[in-house]
Amino acid sequence: MSTKTPSTEAVDINDPKLSRFEIIREGARRDDIEIVHYEPQFAPGSKAEKRMVRIVAGFFLITGVASLAFLGIFIFWPWEYEFGAYTASKFYTPLLGVTLGIALLGIGFGILTWAKKLLPHEISVQDRHVGTNADEQKLTGETALYMLDELGLKRRPLLKGAIGLGLAPVAVVAAAPLIGGLIKDPHGDERQSMFKTGFNADYNDGKLVRLVREDGSPVRPEDVSAGGQITVFPGISHGATNEWADSPTLLIHLRANDAAKAAEAADADEINKGAYYGPYVAFSKICSHAGCPASLYEQQTNRLLCPCHQSQFLIIDNARPIFGPAHRRLAMLPIEVDAEGFFVAKADYKEAVGPDFWERP
């Protein structure tokens, strides 16, 4: 147990009298490393050392057992999904995780204990070589500059100009197909989906579009009780799918005195005038903030809460935002009842639906 003092005289590494450690130390020295302290942690053969060896071996054996358990479970345990609360297959993944975890932790702790406790303790000091060599910097710098001289761009202005004007466009040529192919005009599709929804009669051969449930069944006024609300979709093909992600609409049957307030507010508004049908109003369900479905309707206060960032809209005041980060009201869908007694949209939304964007009027 000694801290070996470094010797400074040159070492002949072919000297047969040298031990391997002395050769190693000489090698390290040539890498500017001084091994200043090197000592085994236990006297070889001591009780303490044997105990450590047993611990390391124990960890590895635990790994062996856990690995076998993992394999056994992986192969033989019932794993296919069964309906029910506590079926055997429900424990498949937890058992795999626990056995695999134990197996890996066993190796980990085994190796860590081995390295930390059984390997000799050492302190080495390596030189960092801080500071830069000014000569080196100059030599490299001049080499680089000389390359420029060789090209002679300074003396040949024509080449300079030709590179600028002639070759620069090539850089754009590389970018054009990569990026150009992705660019898509948001207002270019024939559906005009940034401003139109599935309730536009254009998508229904010019006929007014019905308000339907998710399964496609149309809605009569008496299907929604006072104070209640349902989510409706445009009654066109695929109207309830994500293809028409901006169309989901909330149809609300207001109670009498709320309905009167809502009607008054709507009639005072240029756009929403007459958009309601008796006590029934319909607003876009797509939050004007970031487009989540604003789906939590509080009957008492007539507020619609968006669960994403908690914007709140006052339904009886043209769905004006009254709290949270949304700054635009929800668009109102003008509705009426057709000859067969089902709700239809009198027209498409008059304001754009969904999250706000720059050129949205």
Binding site: T241, A245, A290, H309, F357, W358
Partner: protein
């Protein structure tokens, strides 16, 4: 024919010689084997990130073998009875299949997700370590910038990964991502339409995100990680000040075998913890969320933790928009401030922090020795300020859950967040600054008067005093003149050699109490005379 007899013992030597004659690796290999690494627990945080990344690669490749990144509508008829007959995208259906119809698929999915959470957590904590110890100072600014970039790439890796199963939560996240793109002034609608290939959601976003998630982002991450480690290697690791440690050397152990073995063991341990968590704790049970429908969302839908601060900032933002009444009218929506401006600032400010600090302090020196957080109160206080900002933003990202659990009104929670975001960080700054100064002062006191021994002595005149153990020979006033070297000052008697813990046996002690523990992370306290010679270089 006579066969030469094979001398087994000479084989390794011969092979090595043969290899060196061809590749000339002897010298570089030896300097690699011999490279000295300083050791401290806080240097392991970056390693956890690296190891989690390896687990992500392994499990991720497995998932690609079963995952179908397509938005085509299919009717589910797998084993999970609750969703049978439901229309959903092929991406969602294949994620259900991985969870229920691939043997061991669920544990792979959960390992992938837990590893992702671990990856991000360790990156963040590693960043804190680097920040608070000043490890980002010259010459390591480049690696700091790479590190910040790694955080944001990890953020996108996580977000794209979270999006591609196309369940109810990931669709909601995508919708918000689209709204964030839409909120950019002038180019917003073009940006969103170009990335989604038309209006949200379109048919392209899942395949595109898939390629980003499994190819582009991992490739960039791999490149950045390689550069990061390469720089650590060539610049050599920083070290804490301490006996014998200077700005010009590295004190520690050589990389092989002990240091490398510890790394390997640590990797296995991280891997094991991830496997254990993946088995024991369910994560992202997508089958409960259902397929994405534009018309449905559940409340308390939370993103992964490292995205929550964004969500919180968006929630706290008041509805401020700028309307420009030209022509039909233009608008900069409220979303732009947190998701565009603030996120930009949050990306650029940390990246440039090393340059800012160097400019403010006029410090152009090379620093290879770390600073204890207490020794640089302004920096530590700034860091705590940033952390408190991040924590409040993150909690606000779940403020509906908090409001629900503690029966607080949601609007109150929002206001608490808004005010807290402005008020708490400065308070954190002030408090941290004070604590740093207090700790510094205590260190200086111990250096001047010695360690409290806990021994109370009664003087002949009846006074009681506590006996202090000086750390060096005191002068005639009983004061010691030790200089603070930037490293732990012993404050308990067993740190200066008294009562070191004995090694316990199972039934009886194996060793008698020994001298002070020796470890590179915790250097022994040298005799006083020697201690005065060693000093950090500042």
């Amino acid at each position: 024919m006579k066969r030469r007899k094979l001398d087994i013992g000479a084989v390794p030597g011969n092979v090595a010689r043969g290899a060196d004659e061809r590749l000339q690796v002897a010298t570089p290999l030896r300097s690699l084997l011999n490279k000295v690494f300083p050791d401290h627990w806080s240097f392991l945080l970056g390693e956890i990130a690296l190891f989690s990344f390896v687990v992500l690669l392994l499990t991720g490749v497995f998932l690609t073998l079963f995952f179908d990144p397509s938005m085509k509508e299919v009717v589910y008829d797998g084993s999970y009875t609750a969703l049978r007959g439901t229309e959903m995208s092929a991406a969602y259906a294949s994620t259900l299949d991985i969870s229920f119809d691939v043997r061991g698929g669920l544990i792979m999915r959960q390992m992938h997700h837990w590893a992702a959470l671990m990856f991000m957590a360790s990156i963040v904590i590693h960043m804190f370590r680097v920040f608070f110890t000043g490890a980002f100072r010259k010459p390591r600014e480049t690696n700091w910038v790479i590190g910040v970039t790694l955080f944001f790439m990890g953020f996108f890796a996580g977000f794209t990964g979270y999006s591609i199963p196309d369940d109810g939560l990931s669709g909601t996240g995508l919708r918000i991502a689209s709204a964030i793109m839409l909120s950019m002034p002038v180019i917003g609608s073009w940006l969103s339409s170009s990335i989604f290939g038309g209006e949200f959601p379109g048919m392209l976003i899942i395949p595109r995100f898939f390629i980003a998630h499994v190819l582009i982002i991992p490739a960039v991450l791999l490149g950045l990680i390689a550069a990061h480690l390469g720089l650590v290697f060539s610049q050599k690791h920083t070290q804490w000040p301490g006996p014998g440690r200077t700005n010009e050397n590295v004190v520690g152990e050589r990389m092989f075998p002990r240091y490398a073995m510890k790394q390997g063991g640590f990797f296995m341990a991280v891997f094991g913890v991830i496997a254990f968590m993946a088995g024991a704790f369910q994560i992202n049970p997508i089958w409960l969320f259902g397929p994405y429908r534009a018309s449905e969302v559940s409340s308390a839908s939370q993103p992964d933790w490292y995205v929550m601060f964004m969500d919180g900032l968006v929630r706290l933002m008041p509805a401020w928009a700028i309307e420009i009444p030209i022509g039909d009218g233009y608008v900069i929506p409220p979303m732009f401030w947190p998701a565009g401006v603030l996120l930009g600032v949050l990306a650029v400010l940390p990246m440039t922090y090393p340059a800012i600090e160097a400019r403010l302090t006029g410090d152009k020196k090379i620093h290879n020795l770390l600073e204890r957080p207490r020794d640089n109160p302004p920096r530590t206080a700034l860091g705590m300020m940033a952390i408190s900002f991040f924590i409040i933003a993150t909690i606000s990202g779940g403020n509906d859950v908090v409001a629900d659990k503690f029966h607080i009104s949601l609007n109150a929670m929002t206001w608490v967040g808004r005010i807290g975001l402005l008020v708490v960080p400065p308070i954190a700054y002030w408090v941290t600054y004070r604590i740093c100064l207090g700790l510094q002062q205590h260190d200086r006191e111990v250096l001047a008067h010695g360690v409290e021994t806990g021994i109370i002595r009664r003087l002949p005149d009846g006074r009681f005093i506590e006996v202090h153990q000086p750390l060096a020979a005191p002068d005639e006033h009983g004061h010691t003149h030790l200089e603070y070297t930037g490293w732990v000052v012993p404050k308990k008697m067993n740190r200066v050699g008294a009562l070191a813990p004995a090694i316990k046996g199972f039934f009886f002690p194996i060793e008698k109490p020994s001298e002070a523990p020796v470890s590179p992370g915790h250097p022994p306290v040298d005799p006083a005379a020697k201690r005065e010679e060693v000093g950090s270089s500042h």
